[in-house]
Subunit: 193 residues, 2 copies
């Protein structure tokens, strides 16, 4: 039977709060409030707000991994079409939120990665794992002749994904999907063989 | 004669604080402390912390503009070499800071652009101005046959600059210039004609 104060629910709610408001603008009181839990319960689950945010990030990324593996590993679709679907889905997701929230991994890396070693390390670990999934798909595209083979798959994957994060960031200024749509138009034209 | 509490000095110190710590992690008390000014002086210059950050951003971007205009407008160097110098200089700058701080415009857009209309609007305005300077250089490169003319200069400039911001963001995770160096290797190969 499901516990009343489930750590998964607290993290899920936390992910949304952190995506919207960022780390430093989210107080523990607010996390307690949206979850209807007392402070004691929070500190039963988490050592600190930092611990909570790292666990929320871990959960967020795990969910992303599951989605990316199923999408980018789907060999019934061409590698380029898989990559296009991956980024198009993210554009749609961001568009539905008026480009206001973005990616939790990118947000926390930007906000804390430079000054907090735990978030720098977590960001590196998560990005490397996501990068390897994208690289496998890029390598397939290079083998099948769809994607330029002028660069190592892992480097090109890094370039493709980081560049998308830059477009998502830019989309927050003015709440417009335009930078992400421009990304799609140009990136997939440039990387084709 | 120079005033003791000069608004320019307060903003300069503020820029560094905001770049390092972000908006929500920077308190007014800290701004007073590094500038050795009383609260009253701060509120003589600024309506609020938000007003202070918007003015600091304005000052930061104005300085960037001056640099970009002189660099990208230098017709004694080829358009592609100018663009390469622009981004190489930024990589060196970030490298000297252990990739810990990044760009204030990108940081504030990421942290606040989604939820605070003033920062969303400011980000849009500043990015459009920077974009137009880059676009002029890209257009020159297209005219001279150095840069692909498959895309509108303004769109390609947006893609080039947003993608670099994504690389800077990624560089905070693990404090490595590697994503920025990869950006240089791949971007300037892909956009050449």
């Amino acid at each position: 039977m499901r516990q009343k104060h489930n750590i998964d629910d607290i993290l899920e709610n936390g992910i949304e709060l952190l995506r919207e408001k960022g780390y430093n603008n989210t107080g523990v009181e607010e996390i307690l409030k949206i979850n209807h839990i007392p402070k004691g319960s929070f500190y039963n689950f988490f050592e600190s707000k930092e611990d909570f945010a790292l666990k929320a990030l871990e959960k967020y990324v795990q969910k992303q991994f599951g989605y990316i593996v199923s999408l980018l590993g789907n060999r019934s679709v061409s590698p380029v079409e898989r990559l296009k679907k991956f980024y198009t889905d993210m554009i749609e997701f961001n568009s539905n939120e008026d480009c206001a929230k973005g990616c939790l991994l990118a947000n926390l890396t930007q906000e804390l990665g430079g000054t907090n070693p735990k978030f720098s390390d977590a960001g590196k670990k998560h990005y490397e794992k996501i990068g390897s999934l994208i690289a496998a798909c890029v390598a397939e595209g290079q083998m099948s002749g769809e994607i330029t083979d002028k660069f190592e798959a892992s480097q090109l994957a890094c370039f493709i994904h980081n560049s998308f994060n830059g477009a998502v960031l830019r989309s927050k200024a003015g709440h417009s999907t335009h930078p992400m749509v421009t990304y799609m138009d140009i990136m997939f034209d440039l990387i084709k063989k």
